[in-house]
Symmetry: C2
Subunit: 439 residues, 2 copies
């Protein structure tokens, strides 16, 4: 029961071959074989997130995720699903992002049918009461207070998102704006649930020691009984081209070490021209992926001006996404020193490109991280789930390593030059409250 | 046929006594006596603006305003209304803001009935064709190109608005985002027109040499025949509290002299606690209203560092509004010098308040500007129209001068201290593209 603002790392290797099929009511099912241990991961991904919320109802997607755990259904008392998972020694949870809401359980294979039965039941039969609303609204409000409002970095992050995105709904925090969360009511929750919690708006992902035919039979028996709802189209306001350089500064007494993070709007895997998202992933790896990266080597190791420095590309999004670089000064260094050094590194890649050696190593690291992710059943299930919930298909997951390997040095240089333009960036600064300090 | 981003200055004096009444279909009518000349101003204000547009449909309010002139109706061919106004030597126009869309004609009193008949007709009988959509969409797109995209100051202004407003829909440009304007179609226009162009969503303002009883009889005969539509509630997403200091910078080769403008979110007359909006109006006058103001005297006259400097408070808005200060350097002065001087003036008022002498003079200037506005029939009609279209009533217009006169020096000091906080401001910088320039 959490809200996430980033999608899981998305990738796969050639060993995994998932199968998929549709139920008659339009629900997509993906089965991922994994026979290493007698466990199964069962996930339902709804193609609904905070970026789909009606205006003025921010937080409703995450609120309904909570209500899915809190409320009774026509067939089960409140808490019964929880207890059933606990009794069989399983684990379960859920999360909400801008683009999707997912529920999952990890259990022994014989319990799969029971899990599917419970999930199918709460997809259609949820009985939300006024009391559920009151109790759970207090919970999400408290969650906002503790996770966002008490954390200057999180408060800054919200303002940076809302400054980076001037039209696209990623502007709105997943947890919701407090003044809107406080007003969410039964009608809002019920309307959202009725509209979006439908089999034709969901993807079932089952990973583990279970045959596709078994999953199919069970899915037809459980989810197959849930009626399809009117087709949903997912139309999102689009971000206009960015013409300006923007900054957002939060000065707070609770901050001890300043930091900055610069964001650029870039395409996601779904919106990119072929090869650009892969090149952005490798650019993030080369520029700021760990201690071997250019930024770390230059700023932390060689110049010694930064305590940390890194880069990130968020690829698994339905709409345009972002590329970010962050850093924090060490010793007497100023944020401006680090920013200047970052600008120099970006300019160097945009002008001279990357070497074939560093490109190869970045590809290796990227593909290794995919293999590492395969080791965890919920990670591989999440790769499929998040990809399918953001407009991708099985091939997008399974061909990712090959597509990454095909990226050329010129492509990496091109995306750096095209997207990482200082005059079209948005930078957040977190500053300590000190008298007469220059940062 | 224009889009405006600011409301007319709103005020009145004791001489004007308007009367108002409701038609049976819910349309409000205001009659303002003005017998100085044989002319009459006829205005219809719809309580619909760009801030009411559906997500992804920016520009639709302004587009429909255009279509009101372009399309035929069931009773009149396209262009007939135009020709009728021209034949009698009248003038007419329209404008769209965030909160309202207004249409008006200025004619001789005998033509009033004809104007009302035409306006009532296009309130209900508009016949929009596919051809109208194509032609007029090209017109608004060209309007955007010439007024916004070819003007760096306007491009910056859009980004500042979208940075200042992170949730409230004043974020969205009245003209619309280009990528959304290009997709506006017949269905969008028709739905918007059908929903919002209704008598119970409109205010009729008639100013001039005509008796209220005459207006009433004519209104019943014309607008009175238009059926009421289902009640509309105007619920807008609310802005969260601002915790950060934000900047937006546009660097452009077409800019010769740099400038800046700093915005703060403040209450409007509709959302303010009693007295605060009046105090903000006087603060704007004292700080930056013309050549007698503190900023002008200090920055332009005494220090000679600014070519211009001023302040503005936008009070006539449905939701929270803004207070702004702008300036431009002279000679070798830098933007930073002017900003520092502005900060010092704000700090001085927040700490020491204003003198009774400058407060009295500011009140006099403010009330004189109201009297000046009364001299123009369309200005006084607009005061009533804009106030009523943003949640106010006749008393709000007519008592304004008295309420302004009652503001104390302490109230002005209090709003400066409460709202003009540097750490919670949004500043736009327009910079020339010069090699190695520090601004």
């Amino acid at each position: 029961m959490a809200f996430v603002t980033t999608a899981p790392v998305l990738a796969a290797n050639d060993d995994i071959k998932a199968t998929n099929f549709l139920l008659d009511n339009g629900m997509e099912v993906v089965v991922i074989p994994d026979n290493r241990a007698p466990i199964v991961t069962h996930m339902v991904w709804y193609k609904i997130g905070s970026a789909d919320e009606p205006p003025g109802k921010s937080g409703i997607a995450h609120f309904v995720e909570h209500l899915m755990f809190k409320a009774a259904t026509i067939n089960h008392a409140a808490g019964e699903f929880d207890r059933a998972v606990a009794e069989i020694g399983g684990s379960h949870n859920a999360f909400t992002s801008q683009d999707y809401t997912a529920f999952y359980e990890t259990v022994a294979p014989p319990a799969l049918e029971q899990m599917m039965s419970f999930e199918a039941d709460r997809m259609f039969n949820l009985s939300i009461t006024d009391d559920d609303i009151k109790t759970e609204r207090d919970v999400i409000i408290e969650e906002r207070r503790s996770r966002i409002d008490n954390d200057p970095q999180a408060v800054l992050g919200e303002a940076v998102d809302a400054t980076l995105w001037q039209n696209q709904p990623y502007r709105i925090p997943v947890i919701g704006w407090m003044q809107e969360m406080e007003k969410l009511d039964w009608t809002d929750a019920r309307a959202f649930y009725d509209k979006y919690y439908t089999p034709n708006n969901a993807v079932l992902v089952v990973a583990g020691d279970v045959a596709p035919e078994t999953v199919k039979a069970l899915a037809e028996k459980t989810y197959g009984t849930v009626p399809a709802a009117p087709g949903l189209t997912r139309i999102r306001p689009v971000e206009p081209g960015q013409n300006t350089k923007r900054t957002v500064t939060l000065t707070d007494a609770r901050v001890s070490v300043p930091n900055f993070s610069t964001h650029w709007v870039v395409p996601s895997y779904r919106t990119a021209e072929r090869g650009e998202a892969e090149a952005l992933d490798l650019l993030a790896e080369i520029l700021g992926g760990g201690t071997r990266s250019r930024l770390y080597q230059q700023l932390v190791v060689k110049q010694g001006i930064a305590a940390e420095a890194g880069a990130h590309f968020e690829g698994t999004m339905l709409d345009a996404s972002y590329f970010s670089i962050h850093g924090s000064p060490r010793g007497d260094a100023k944020l401006a020193d680090i920013e200047a050094a970052v600008d120099a590194e970006i300019a160097r890649i945009a002008r001279d490109g990357v070497t074939s050696d560093e490109l190869d190593k970045a590809k290796d690291r990227y593909v290794r991280s995919v293999i590492f992710a395969h080791d965890q059943q919920d990670s591989i299930a999440s790769m499929y789930g998040s990809t399918l919930a953001t407009g991708g298909n099985l091939k997008d997951v399974e061909e990712r390593p090959d597509r990454i390997r095909k990226v050329t040095a010129d492509q990496v240089k091109a995306v750096a030059a095209r997207y990482l333009v200082s005059d079209h960036s948005t930078t957040g600064y977190l500053l300590p409250l000190l008298p007469n300090t220059e940062n």
